[in-house]
Assembly symmetry: C2
Homo-oligomer: 259 residues x 2
């Protein structure tokens, strides 16, 4: 288990993975932190290229590392500091293979999925992946202008949910072609009160961009226009995109159905 | 309007306000950004000590600045950079007086309020203040171990909601002494499904800490133990604290009541 530390080339490679273009070029991404690293090693959904860890972390996780012994790089705290993306570097960091989720049109048609129309904040995307995991949604689709799901801040805030929720980049038109009758429900300012409307069991829920909301092109394709009403007399301009997503998902999943 | 720029002492003072102890010592906090600064100047809830802005911002907001002409410090972009807390410094920054909200026991007793039991993440606190604003809650009470509401990241993410939602630091026992019959509802892992339980109109909703949840001391004081159920078979460990707060508030505010 006494693998060599970091060569200059490896250091360069690891630091390059902070950038989207190199994550795409090498088809890899970084997972940092004790708990999330253990989950990724246990679940084995994503291929692992390197496990970069402090000696004591390697010592205490021998069993988890059994099948990975040739991928371990034991590093010093100073070395970890050089690659870590966190203010307080953690004990372990993985380089993992990006994963292409497959799309089953039938599951799409009978399930509840999200369509993210230009979510830009990595923390919001991570939180939304956790929401989808919590409520057992079937898919998260990202429009091409969404923040990349393998960005380190997304991975951090999604936590283990990235192992369970299929996240795919798709245009709304592609999904409509697969399931022309699937209701497409989204929030617009002049929509109907989501707490009072009958809601379908299977649907695609559209979440708009943090500042401009649902784009004009997507709005035209909505089959149900909804809103989360603000309290009368309140002055709030908007709810955070992830909070609104959580309220929406809760309504679709848990509201006693009248029909 | 050609006020002098920043003296060394003023620069030192402004930079000190990044720290909680100096915010408390001087009873001030910092509000940064064009939109939020304009809201604070318009609403006049918080006293303003200094308005530090780029020349063109001062030029274009003469009307808003009329009553504040003696508080304006026109600075260069390089000077603003030295005090700004943002990666990309904005055009304006205010030094505002902290504000002590008063507590009306009657409003507490007939309203819907939040009790935050150890919220540590400033982004979460800001987002929760926005949620309270959106749903027209009456008060937000922070336990003494919550993150400070005047921390710059809280102010940024709360946006204008800090002007409308009373945020007070209180122990739960103090509130119970004021309103002994007010229901205290919180989430615990083994609580009842919030989507199926009858919910009171007036209540204090407890939100637990991001990692440990509701503390043991507060748990004992809950009169209703609830949970947001995860989807069967899902692996998610938790919802983000702000998202859970949003779902909770939506249930209490908008669920058709059966009794």
């Amino acid at each position: 288990m006494n693998a060599p530390g970091l060569s200059k080339n490896k250091l360069k490679y690891l630091r390059a993975l902070r950038q989207k273009k190199y994550r795409q070029k090498y088809d890899k991404f970084i997972v940092e932190g004790d708990k999330i690293a253990r989950e990724f090693l246990l679940q084995q959904r994503y291929g692992i290229e390197w496990i970069i860890a402090l000696p004591h972390w390697v010592e205490t996780h021998q069993k988890l590392l059994q099948v990975h012994f040739n991928k371990i790089l034991t590093v010093s705290e100073a070395e970890l500091q050089q690659i870590s993306l966190l203010h307080t570097p953690n004990q372990v960091l993985l380089v993992a293979d990006r994963f292409s989720w497959s799309l089953d049109p039938e599951r799409l048609g009978r399930g509840l999925s999200l369509y993210l129309d230009g979510i830009r904040d990595p923390g919001n995307l991570g939180t939304i992946i956790r929401i989808a995991d919590w409520f057992g949604l079937d898919y998260i689709f990202c429009s091409p202008d969404c923040v990349e799901e393998y960005m380190p801040k997304v991975v951090q805030s999604a936590m283990g949910a990235l192992l369970r929720v299929p996240v795919l980049q798709r245009e709304l038109a592609e999904l409509r072609a697969l399931q022309p009758h699937l209701p497409i429900c989204g929030t617009v300012l002049d929509g109907d009160n989501v707490f009072e409307q009958p809601l379908p069991k299977a649907a695609l829920l559209v979440v708009g961009n943090e500042s401009r909301g649902v784009s004009a092109a997507v709005r035209e394709q909505l089959t149900q226009r909804l809103r989360i009403p603000a309290h009368l007399g309140g002055g709030a301009e908007s709810l955070n995109a992830a909070v609104a997503t959580g309220i929406f998902c809760a309504q679709f999943r848990h509201r006693p159905r009248t029909q």
